[in-house]
Amino acid sequence: MSDIQSALHKRARALLENGDVEYVIGWENARGENKTRPAFIRRAEDAERLVWNRWCVNSTAKYLLHDRWPKGKIAICARGCDTRAINRMLSDGQVKRENIYILGIPCAGVENQICRRCAHRNPLVYDELLGEPAEEKTDFDRFEKVKEMQAMTLEQRRQMWEDEFTKCIRCYACRNVCPACNCRECYADQYRTGWQGKQFNAVENRVYGLTRAYHVGDRCIECGECERVCPMDLPIMLQTGRMLMECNELFGQYECGLSDDETPALGTYNLNDADSFG
């Protein structure tokens, strides 16, 4: 058993026993090998159900929005990406820091392709850190995939997205797992206003995909959960990645979820901003 997992058992048990927190969000084994799912531990004697291994792929942070007014504190297991998600939600005024107790987990990457391009293997914010810090990596190009897409001709890209949006089944898993998708009511659910047409076809799917991309593009924390959960394997990160690359080009080094008081690039007015598009 990993050191981190045993530390996690000990601390989760103590936090629950002392009544410091109402519950602990982490991961537990699901049926079968190589599979875990988000766990919500409420009793000290259940603390040992928590696991930490390379199959812990699910983001934990979004669950904070499922309990916006908790009775007590929520302890949450958070890797680098999860802490960026928490910072995102703190910056967006969606959760209160005093409601959360962060058990920081250094993470060398789990069974998810996205981890190869992770620049934050250590939690950025925590109340306590479990285990030793992980070695950070910088030997990758954050926008590698986006650049590959940009190298395609306009017609190739148009065809590619036409195909992808034809494939989309609009299950909204990408939205529901995304920490930047934190509106109380999504525009797509405002059915009486009817922003989002209900037909399932490439046109309506594109309306949804592009609206979401623009809405989260300057707040995306690059956790890749949207792509992981997509049942139709759409390369959703290319959309937000394209937005982020543009933000980097226009506004200098730009990454989201690094602190808890960020204003998004497109939500900030600055007289010195580039206006090359004018």
Binding site: G32, K35, K167, C171, K198
Partner: protein, 330 residues
């Protein structure tokens, strides 16, 4: 009667004559039913990611067109071509029987579904081998039987056993005679990977869990409330009716809906009868395993395992069945 597997493409050519023939294959990297393109269909391996239900119950179905003004004009839209669905497995065949019960047999006959169904010939094939999350046998099915199909191709080895189960199937088989020979075919050897403790007794006991808040909280907490499980499910049949207008013209359509979505239970005045994921997922599980049984005499889950394969939160209906069985028998 039996059919040599190497003659399959000749049979497909017969089936495709003057009809739209759907077979399992890859479309943009996703295994699903697609129009036959002359290639050998992908009958082996895991089942399709998307179920065949879209062929009979389209994601979006235009119902009628309208024109408003001094006089309102309404014109019916009928879109039910002659079709063949080839290569569906026992689980998916049973899912169509579930939909038949909803849309044709029990009470109201849904003309849109009934028309498509009447014009479809279904040729099912023995399951070649279970997927990692399959459990159709626990739901009372046999991977090597599809009594509801017009024609069933059974067994393993180099031959298919050929049986017609309906009049439509028998008529069709007459066209196949030159490829059919006498002889037996061994029973298919595919068996399910999972064996959750489902039973008619459990189905009856499940509604007794309705008020057990702690149980449902634990079961539903990881749910992200997306519609993935509903949309990959071969039996989820809920739809929403809406319209799309431009100026004084438009169409009314119906499209798939999911009881996982927040607006599904939104009532006039803003009240939501299932406000949280606890109520929504409870409804989904109980509808699949208990409520449907009360009215239609069968479960609404065929054990295909698609929802398990695709749930972003790794929820697992087979695990749910076992957990519920444990609680119910305590």
């Amino acid at each position: 009667m039996r059919l040599k597997k190497e003659d399959l493409n000749k049979i497909l050519a017969l089936l495709a004559k003057n009809r739209e023939l759907f077979v399992p294959g890859q479309v943009r990297g996703i295994k699903q039913f697609k129009l036959w393109d002359g290639e050998t269909p992908e009958l082996d391996g895991e089942n399709t990611v998307l179920p065949p239900k879209d062929i009979l119950f389209p994601k979006t179905e235009k119902m009628y067109a309208y024109k408003t003004g001094t006089e309102t004009e309404i014109s019916e839209i009928v879109d039910a071509p002659e079709r063949v669905i080839f290569g569906i497995r026992a689980c998916d065949m049973h899912s169509i029987e579930c939909m038949d019960s909803v849309f044709i047999r029990e009470g109201y006959e849904d003309s849109f579904y009934a028309r498509r169904r009447a014009k479809s010939l279904i040729v099912a094939v023995a399951c070649p081998g279970a997927g990692v999350n399959c459990f159709c046998e626990s739901m009372g099915l046999d991977p090597d039987a599809a009594p509801g199909a017009d024609i069933f191709l059974s067994g393993g080895g180099e031959f298919y056993g050929v049986t017609a189960n309906t009049e439509k199937g028998e008529t069709e088989l007459k066209k196949w005679t030159q490829y059919l020979t006498d002889g037996d075919v061994p029973k298919g050897e595919a068996h399910c990977s999972l064996a959750p403790a489902m039973s008619p007794e459990l189905s009856e006991k499940l509604t007794g869990l309705f008020d057990d808040d702690e149980f449902w909280q634990e079961v539903t907490e990881p749910c992200l409330q997306c519609g993935t499980c509903s949309f990959v499910c071969p039996t989820c049949y809920c739809f929403d009716i809406n319209q799309s207008s431009v100026g004084d013209e438009g169409v009314a359509f119906r499209c798939w809906d999911s009881c996982m979505f927040s607006d599904y239970n939104q009532n006039a005045g803003g009240h939501n009868t299932r406000p949280t994921k606890k109520q929504r997922l409870r409804n989904r599980y109980l509808h699949k395993l208990a409520y449907f049984n009360e009215r239609h005499g069968m479960e609404l889950c065929v054990g295909c395992g698609r929802c398990i394969n695709k749930c972003p939160a790794h929820l697992d209906i087979a695990e749910f069945i076992d957990k519920a069985a444990e609680v119910c028998h305590d």
